[in-house]
């Protein structure tokens, strides 16, 4: 055999390596950026964590709270996962120059290809409905200010990519079917084509050579499209198809109302309440010398913990949080989705800065607070947990709001003045109002 016969195989392996290599590079960057966050306690019932991941990410239980969007999403999601079995075959065929290597499975192969086709059709329908919801019905949560520009384009682009991939898949099968019926070399009779058999007549009367060109083009474009999509993820809200799994695994296990008690504060408060504390006793008591944190709360992305940062990369920008937020519903600037998007944007900016400066972050005079998230947004939150409850992938926008409030109050003393009065009252009278603590029991006799 001549060497030239192997050109497609070599080309394929090179493209595959390039696509996967670039993807691996992005994954590494992603992990590095998430690790810029601070440590946080991940102790907790592991069985529960596995269960949450299985139910919420794999089982999509929180998606179907909104039945229409939920059902459509399940279709696209299942389609995506199952049709990827086909990609495995494509890769093997591409490397070894085989054609439909799995066809030895016989009847089961027919069943597989048949179900892929039906799923592909369902995906096309779902994607079209999604597009209509975003662009014609204009559902409110897709039109908030934070969705202008790239987020809107990103959302539509994904739909177009999915549509094109599905059409390529069906075209590939339709021409394959034609070729099979012509008895072309290499195209053995296999597979069942419940959907593409209706597309096949479009290619009636074409020569075998033309059909092979179309079939091969569709095959190549399909796999190239998939490699492109893989590498598009990092720049897109679509990263959630990967991160939804770790994110739901590390989702909050404690009651929603339980906010963490800052350990660094506990140590200081203990010292303050007991002036006789032996300054050397405290560290040993808590099991070793604890590092003094740089600051309380968060004013920039790296002050947040790594789970909060992973949350930001996982956000699907679906806006379910924002549409349930009482502040947003009453016209306040606060949008929990924007909190997540801003955090990701800032983290990306920090990551690029690090890339540019050979692995070191050079201060750029910007931060998450004020440059991305305004104080007005932070102070509008009622800590009601509606956003946390609504999120289909266990993101906690409220925890970022709280971290930033902590910075404002404890590092900057920059609470709204009414809140400063309230806190002054607590310090002086043990109540948020200026009443005398001695009068606490007066209510009994009034």
């Amino acid at each position: 055999m001549q060497l030239t016969t192997y050109i497609p195989n070599i080309l394929f392996v090179m493209l595959l390596a390039l696509g996967i290599g670039y993807f691996a590079r992005n994954v590494k960057k992603l992990i590095r950026n998430i690790k810029l966050g601070t440590e946080t306690d991940t102790a907790g019932d592991n069985a529960q964590r596995w269960k949450n991941m299985t139910m919420i990410a794999l089982g999509q239980t929180k998606m179907v709270v909104r039945p229409i969007a939920g059902l459509l999403h399940v279709i696209v999601y299942l389609g995506f996962i199952i049709i990827n079995i086909e990609v495995l075959e494509i890769i093997i065929d591409g490397i070894f120059g085989t054609h439909r290597i799995f066809s030895f499975m016989g009847g089961f192969y027919d069943f597989l290809i048949g179900s892929f086709e039906i799923l592909a059709l369902l995906v096309i329908i779902a994607v079209v409905v999604f597009w209509i919801r975003r662009n014609i019905i204009c559902i409110k949560r897709f039109l908030k200010p934070e969705m202008k520009g790239w987020p809107k384009k990103d959302a539509d682009l994904i739909l177009y990519i999915e549509l094109v991939l599905m059409f390529l898949f069906l075209t590939m099968n339709a021409t394959d079917l034609q070729l099979q019926q012509m008895g072309a070399d290499h195209y053995a009779q296999t597979g069942s084509f419940p959907v593409s058999q209706y597309i096949a007549p479009l290619f009636d009367g074409m020569s075998m050579a033309t059909l092979i060109v179309i079939e091969r083009s569709a095959w190549w474009l399909h796999i190239l499209g998939i490699l492109f999509f893989l590498n598009y993820l990092y720049y897109s809200k679509h990263l959630h198809i990967l991160l939804a799994f770790p994110n739901t695994f590390y989702g909050k296990l404690k009651p929603n109302g339980q906010f963490d008690n800052l350990k660094a504060v506990t140590n200081e408060v203990k010292m303050m309440l007991d002036p006789n504390t032996d300054p050397f006793a405290a560290p040993t008591e808590s099991g070793g010398v604890e590092e003094e944190p740089a600051k309380f709360g968060a004013s920039d992305a790296m002050d947040l913990n790594w789970i909060q940062l992973m949350n930001a990369y996982t956000c699907t920008e679906c806006g379910r949080c924002t549409s349930e937020c009482p502040a947003n519903q009453t016209g306040k600037k606060l949008s929990p989705r924007k909190i997540m998007m801003d955090t990701r944007d800032r983290l990306e900016e920090i990551g690029k800065n690090i890339d540019k400066n050979k692995g070191e972050f050079i201060p750029d005079g910007k931060q998450l607070l004020d440059d991305y998230i305004s104080r007005e947004e932070l102070w509008a939150c009622t800590t009601c947990n509606a956003c946390v409850q609504a999120c289909p992938v266990s993101i906690d926008p409220l925890s970022i709001i709280m971290s930033m409030r902590q910075y404002l109050v404890m590092e900057q003393s920059a609470a709204p003045s009414e809140l400063n009065n309230m806190m002054g009252n607590i310090e002086n009278n043990g109540a948020p109002w200026p009443y005398n603590q001695m009068d606490r029991l007066n209510w009994v006799n009034e």
């Binding site: 929603n256 109302g257 309380f296 102070w379 947990n385 709204p416 009414e418 043990g430 948020p432 007066n442």
Partner: protein
Amino acid sequence: MGEGLKVKTMQDFMAEGTQPEILFWVGSAGSYDDRAKKISRAFVKILNKANVDFAVLGSEESCTGDVAKRAGNEFLFQMQAMMNIEVLNGYEIQRIVTCDPHSFNTLKNEYPSLGGKYEVVHHTQYINELIENGRLSLEGKAYQGKRITFHDPCYLGRANKVYDAPRAVLQQTNAELVEMKRHKKTALCCGAGGAQMFKEPEKGDMDINVLRTKDALETNPNIIATGCPYCNTMMTDGIKAHEKEDKVSVLDVAELIANSI
């Protein structure tokens, strides 16, 4: 108005050398806010009627620090918490009941890691328990034929998944319970949480409490039932904004029960 209420402090119990069954954590609102004080008295009326041997801390109680924590002041919160824990542990308190979901949440969830471990129940859970144990029986005439809708407090509902107790208790009044479109997990906040109670809202096109009372009014109720002193204030103001204060009243679950015994 308060005649006949029997309220003993922990100091009284100490002097007698006995322990109460339960400590009633009154909370700052329940102690000082004119509207919330009525709720405290209604709850004591229930406790007295059921012959519960309970105590309050009186002047030894201090703000839980919850509102400071939600405002971002972790220092002040932990100071308050540790002072309260010292008092509570000093009296060897085991069980606490409170009418305020914010106190309920912080005592139950946030005090333990600071050294304060107690069994904490919300008053709607406790009243339910009294009824189930046969210690409290209701006449159930006062609200017969009335429509009541219950507003889930965020810190009882979403924060701690307590949805059934208040409803079970309200059922006992023989009133007709009607649910708002968004209730339980999807209930809209009244607008008071996260320290909003103590400040003006940010610029917007509506106040949250007005939106929430709109939800409530859509059920055409005679009474909006609440389980939180702050929700109570917010809903009362919301009803006024809708100019419905003649037709709809806002009452705590404890008040509805106190009027039914």
